[in-house]
């Protein structure tokens, strides 16, 4: 539907689309207001006054820092693992047609196609069957599993757009398999991998459902948030943390968008 640039959109459509967008954005904007709310016991609207004191209070909270550190650590390791495994899988699936190719694509997609609670409870029951104690690594195991598909989707889309003959051209010109990977394949899929990595990081940083099953006593930032949601104890700190989490998750998305502006859309938006 390309040639409609001269037509005007009907008013009703404009209103419906605008209202839909407002519905999506207003609640998130509220978070930014509440973070500066003077009131520290209720969710009273409008806020009786604004202050920046809760930023300092939150800054000095060791439990928030611990949770944040654990989240960054888990997201970094999971992203690294997912980038290696997702790229390998994408390269194998794009490079050749072989028996079982469809099955492997399905296997990669399954962890996000099925509800997260299933991944979570499966891992938990496997850990308990094998008597593996909960640790940072059990969290990573779960996160890396569902992050693979994000990297995989982005890499596969890029491989599809990359002409296969440039690999042959590289070999033809005297580059062995390792040189071809370094000088031709990597530069051509680099931004796609970066985008995949960013999205995987954002996904892992925000994940809570699988984490509740694999974390044991440790708290990632989302788990910390969840505790506060179920049993609110310190409203102002929660408000500030919510604002920080939104900001931290959005940065990778903006960077990923910037990187893919003139190419394919960000693949795997089904997170």
């Amino acid at each position: 539907m390309r040639s409609d640039r001269n037509h005007r959109a009907p008013l009703a459509l404009k209103i419906a689309a605008g209202a839909g967008l407002l519905f999506m954005h207003v609640p998130i904007m509220l978070i930014f207001v509440y973070a500066f709310n003077v009131e520290d016991r209720t969710y009273q609207w409008p806020p009786p006054g604004l202050t920046t004191q809760w930023l300092a209070v939150t800054w000095n909270r060791p439990d928030v820092w611990q949770a944040l550190t654990l989240s960054v650590k888990v997201a970094s390791i999971s992203t690294a693992i997912a980038m290696v495994l997702g790229t390998l899988c994408a390269a194998a699936v794009s490079g050749s047609r072989f028996f079982g190719r469809e099955t492997i694509s399905l296997l990669v997609i399954l962890p996000i196609a099925l509800p997260g609670i299933i991944t979570g409870i499966s891992l938990r029951s496997a850990f308990s069957l094998m008597e593996i104690p909960f640790s940072t690594w059990t969290i990573v195991l779960g996160h890396a599993t569902f992050c693979i598909v994000i990297v995989y989707n982005n890499a596969v889309a890029r491989f599809r757009r990359t002409s296969g003959s440039i690999v042959e051209a590289s070999m033809d010109l005297g580059a062995d398999a390792f040189q071809t990977f370094r000088y031709v394949i990597l530069p051509n899929i680099g931004t796609a991998l970066l985008v995949g990595g960013m999205l995987a990081f954002a996904l892992s940083f925000d994940e809570v459902i699988v984490t509740t099953f694999t974390a044991g006593q440790q708290q990632t930032l989302p788990i910390w948030m969840l505790e506060e949601l179920v049993r609110p104890r310190q409203l102002p700190v929660t408000n500030v943390v919510a604002m920080v989490v939104v900001t931290v998750t959005l940065l990778p998305i903006l960077i990923a968008y910037y990187l893919t502006r003139d190419g394919d859309q960000i693949a795997g938006m089904g997170k």
């Binding site: 539907m1 689309a17 978070i31 009273q44 609207w45 492997i104 499966s122 809570v208 459902i209 998305i253």
Partner: protein, 317 residues
């Protein structure tokens, strides 16, 4: 020219090997393929499929009612328990909610996707795209938290309604059976709103992708043939957008089916499947029943995916 003056007759036609491994990759392409596939397949096979099978296996065990210990003998007894009225109630409630959330999401998402696909151009198009992507990727918990703020008794929604002198409307709605409750944040209506808010963005991009593929001359042809805008929409645009709607509904449906956090924070004390799974594996320690419960969304989603595939929805993903 320099190239022409070089005598090439002395150079070898075949160069010596520099890397035996690289040579092996070329001679045995299958070897390289296996080497590349092995790590991801092992990871997913052991960590994911292994766990999934372990879970399925446990759904065929049962729990001893007196000792509370797990009886590792093959039985369908646990699946039988799913059919108990209280459990069946949970399943029906969850599936109904997932269906309602999906319908509402499609309803809200369609105008946004339609405008973005058909009218937004250049900078506006990019803005629309970001306008969808940012909320979609925003923190899940923060989104729920935002609604807790909005739906609170002293929160913004009641404040706005009071200013508009519409408080009676909310009161009347809360007085209704099933959807009503003591307050919005403690009612099924509240759960429904938050579900729609959190999962609706997943519906927009698939619909937009499907609509982008509708050639505009098709619409011109339709109006050329005398169809009113309404007829064009019903007979041309909607059928062509349907695979996109189905593709989007895979997300909204599946995500609602498995969620246990939203109904726990905003809603009544009546369980959804996710909560039942969580409760049975956690405090109750009834892993077999939790496993059997989690098989329900798996089966529903498999049927759903099979149907979606037949409708060609995967091309719109």
């Amino acid at each position: 020219m320099t190239l022409a003056t070089v005598d090439r007759s002395a150079e070898p036609a075949i160069l010596p090997s520099r890397s035996a491994l690289s040579d092996l990759f070329w001679r045995r392409p299958k070897f390289l393929l296996v080497l590349m596939l092995l790590p991801p397949v092992l990871w997913l096979g052991i960590v994911y499929l292994g766990s999934l099978l372990a879970l399925l296996l446990q759904s065929f065990f049962s729990i001893d009612e007196f000792s509370g210990l797990i009886n590792r003998e093959f039985t369908l007894k646990t699946y039988g328990e799913l059919l108990a009225p209280s459990n069946l109630d949970i399943i029906v409630r969850t599936v109904t909610m997932a269906a309602c959330v999906t319908l509402a999401s499609a309803f809200i998402a369609f105008p946004i996707a339609y405008y973005a696909a058909r009218y937004a151009r250049g900078k506006w198009k990019a803005l629309f795209y970001l306008g969808v992507m940012l909320p979609l990727w925003s923190s899940y918990l923060v989104k729920i938290y935002a609604w807790k703020l909005i739906l609170a008794k002293e929160g913004i929604l009641n404040w706005v309604m009071a200013k508009l002198h519409l408080t009676w409307l909310i009161e009347a709605w809360l007085g209704l059976p099933v959807v009503g409750g003591t307050s919005l944040s403690l009612s099924l209506s509240g759960t429904f709103i938050v579900f729609v808010y959190v999962w609706m963005p997943f519906m927009i991009l698939p619909i937009q992708a499907a609509l982008e593929r509708v050639p505009s001359n098709l619409l011109e042809a339709s109006s050329d043939l005398g169809a009113s805008p309404g007829q064009t929409f019903r007979n041309v645009i909607f059928p062509l957008a349907l695979p996109g709607i189905v593709a989007g509904s895979i997300f909204t449906f599946s995500l609602t089916l498995g969620d246990y956090i939203i109904p726990q924070i905003v809603g009544t004390s009546r369980f959804f499947i996710g909560q039942a799974v969580y409760a049975h594996q956690g405090t109750a320690g009834n892993i077999p029943l939790a496993a059997a419960f989690s098989v329900v969304p798996i089966v529903i989603m498999m049927v759903y995916l099979w149907g979606a595939k037949r409708m060609g929805a995967f091309d719109a993903l």
